[in-house]
Symmetry: C2
Subunit: 419 residues, 2 copies
């Protein structure tokens, strides 16, 4: 397999100010074409560290993909450091220079010397044009190993990756006749990790060289199957055998394949059966609506919702009975049921979801501790409500409330629509 490692250069990642989403994006893309990802490494903008990590990663992988440190300011030292490391000199690249001047001129900016210096590139490296910024991508090679250097700005990096680096890697895999790696994820909900492991059985009995990983999260448990093959057809066949075993054992807990989210899975069913949905959110404050509308095309089934963060809004806008709130409180079975029913009627939708709870960290009582969340799903024939008591972390409580509400909806949709 073509071994790839990812080198991220930048103090802001190292000190934890910025999450390293570039590394996971690059890894995902390379994994998708069959590469084997062997390591990620993050270092600060320090010349010696860049050289020693380039050296180490080129030993353990065929291709190193580096990002960051290519900007026009004094703290960007990647280009000069790599030029030194590969024993090269900087020369002006006229295509890049012309592009930089045109780009800045389109933005109404006069190119400064420091902008023009972006067109200085190592003489022996291959240049990949950056359509969205001033720093081009660069490809170095040494003893049959490659190092790619890309800007750290995500959209610039992604553009060069998709247009140039991914095709380059594909060509390498083809020319070297490399084996490919293939992964598949099955998304499950309703069973904890250890019980799922028992249910599926001893891995060695059905994996025959493949791998199986258990990835728990607040929204359920993901099972990731991994195999390698001489080519994608071969890999697919191996994968499908393992997948069939798991479906046979645990099929009823699987709600989706690959990176389909709960809200996407629900959306697919709603769309397929021409049903609509609305939401009434209190403690999640719009998070459930945001989750549904993250999906392009969700307007076909998601009509909208009401964020009733205050009691008054629950009464005046949603139409929850003031007496219900007075008698049982905002966080109660009675209130959440009315929320789900009233929003369904207000938006004239087939389904309505209600969420109300104490997200925390304050606001709890002995009777209703922080983390108490009531969820309800309503349709024309009735309303189901359930109470959950999560933990004390506000962010996690809100995410779990959304995940659990989606699970409730999905179960109801499967029972009502499919059965």
């Amino acid at each position: 397999m073509l071994k790839v490692s990812v080198l991220t250069i930048g103090d802001e990642i190292c000190i934890g100010q910025v999450v390293n989403s570039n590394a996971s994006w690059i890894s995902e893309r390379c994994t998708a074409i069959g590469c084997s990802l062997v390591a990620h490494s993050v270092i600060g903008d320090v010349s010696e560290d860049i050289k020693s990590e380039a050296e180490r990663l080129m030993k353990i992988s065929d291709v190193v993909i580096a990002t960051g440190g290519l900007g026009p300011t004094h703290d960007d030292i990647t280009k000069t450091t790599l030029c030194e490391y590969f024993g090269d000199v900087l020369v002006i690249n006229h295509d890049v220079l012309q592009f930089v001047e045109e780009l800045l001129s389109r933005r109404g900016i006069k190119a400064l010397e420091r902008n023009k210096a972006q067109a200085l590139v190592p003489s022996k490296c291959r240049i990949f044009p950056n359509e969205l910024g001033t720093a081009p991508g660069m490809l170095f090679d040494k003893n049959g190993k490659f190092l790619v250097s890309l800007p750290g700005v995500p959209r610039e990096m992604k553009n060069i990756m998709d247009n140039h680096i991914i095709p380059f890697l594909k060509k390498q895999i083809f020319e070297r006749n490399e084996d490919v790696a293939l992964f598949k994820t099955l998304q499950t909900s309703g069973l904890p990790e250890s019980a799922m492991a028992e249910l599926i059985g001893e891995p060695s009995s059905f994996l025959s060289g493949g791998t199986l990983a258990f990835l728990p999260s607040y929204k359920g448990l993901r099972l990731r199957i991994g195999v390698t093959g001489k080519n994608f057809d071969d890999a697919r066949e191996k994968l499908s055998k393992i997948q069939n075993h798991i479906i046979q054992k645990a099929g009823k807990f699987i709600y989706a394949e690959d990176e389909v989210t709960l809200s996407e899975a629900a959306g697919i069913l709603l769309k397929q059966y021409n049903k609509t949905l609305s939401v009434a959110e209190s403690c999640t404050g719009g998070l459930l609506g945001a989750d549904f509308t993250e999906v392009s095309g969700s307007s076909e089934y998601f009509m909208g919702g009401v964020i009733t963060y205050s009691n008054e809004a629950k009464i005046s806008i949603l139409g929850v009975n003031a007496g219900t709130l007075a008698a049982h409180g905002a966080v109660s079975e009675e209130t959440v049921k009315e929320m789900a029913e009233k929003v369904r009627i207000l938006f004239k939708t087939d389904y309505g979801i209600g969420i109300t709870g104490i997200a925390g960290p304050t606001g709890g009582s002995a009777e209703k501790p922080v983390g108490t969340i009531w969820l309800a799903v309503s349709d024309g024939s009735g309303t189901d409500a359930k109470k959950f008591v999560f933990g004390t972390d506000r962010k996690i409580n809100r995410e779990r409330a959304v995940g659990t509400a989606l699970n409730m909806l999905l179960k109801k949709l499967k029972n009502e629509i499919i059965d």
Copy 2:
């Protein structure tokens, strides 16, 4: 300074399925107490790789903080690998065993053998209890260097970090009399990176050994000052000099210090002056409401909102004029103004925000391309609306819409309340 590196173990991170937010969280926490973060490393669940990275990172740092691979299934090999690496044997820890049995029993689960095995720990390592899961934290030492192994589940890792590892690191810094690193971030909005650099002036003239980084994002530009000192008092003094220079030059563009978000900054003003807010969201589908309600105590000023994803909802629930929609369309100055005004009236709040646009990737036209977003902020005396044309990425367009709306609100609040 106490040098710390972060080792993340797990195929899911390596292949890009999961973003490595644990590493940035750990780095941020360690940076905050004065540690110097030297590297992050990510490897798969491979015994040889775990050993060689433990070896390498213990050479370049004083403390290695490792996460992942401590679960109860077959793919979790960190504990046995580290036990081997440090030449130790696994023994049963009765405190951990008792805790695991109690934890599972509280969840109504009978402890399986694989769960009980979580209580097997290397005999010589120090154990840190995990209050939220079955895998305890472990501290190994070798030749004056330390390696900490923590579970990869974020809330479990964070709990052990805050309760045990951070105090341990503080003690190390104190006992070794180490220098400390200190950072401060100033959040700005309204000026691009290059213009801000011009305004602040030549860094060498005021940094005197410190560092200044420019971190642009969709929500504004962050300026990060970094210094080192013999202790925190010394570092704070150095930092404060640099900060004062920047405030003097660019104070009016700074809206917050450190990691205060735009919605928090707006919330602080609303609360202070006893004002309230509601939101009407179309293309962001609840994202702005979710942003406001992420803050505990936001119910004091955030009354709620309406997610009017369909035109019908805009008319029937929010009360937008059907004629306005027919004449100008859902993505227009007229519609967004009515959304902001009507939601303000509906929720009886001092301020109302409206968002409507084409998030993409489909749905655009020549006149209104994908990325066209109208934003409005309304108060009793009038409504301001602005059009923006962002890019083609749905997720980024939605985030930029929320960030820009918050910026508009913040400006209005500052002008009206403070001036």
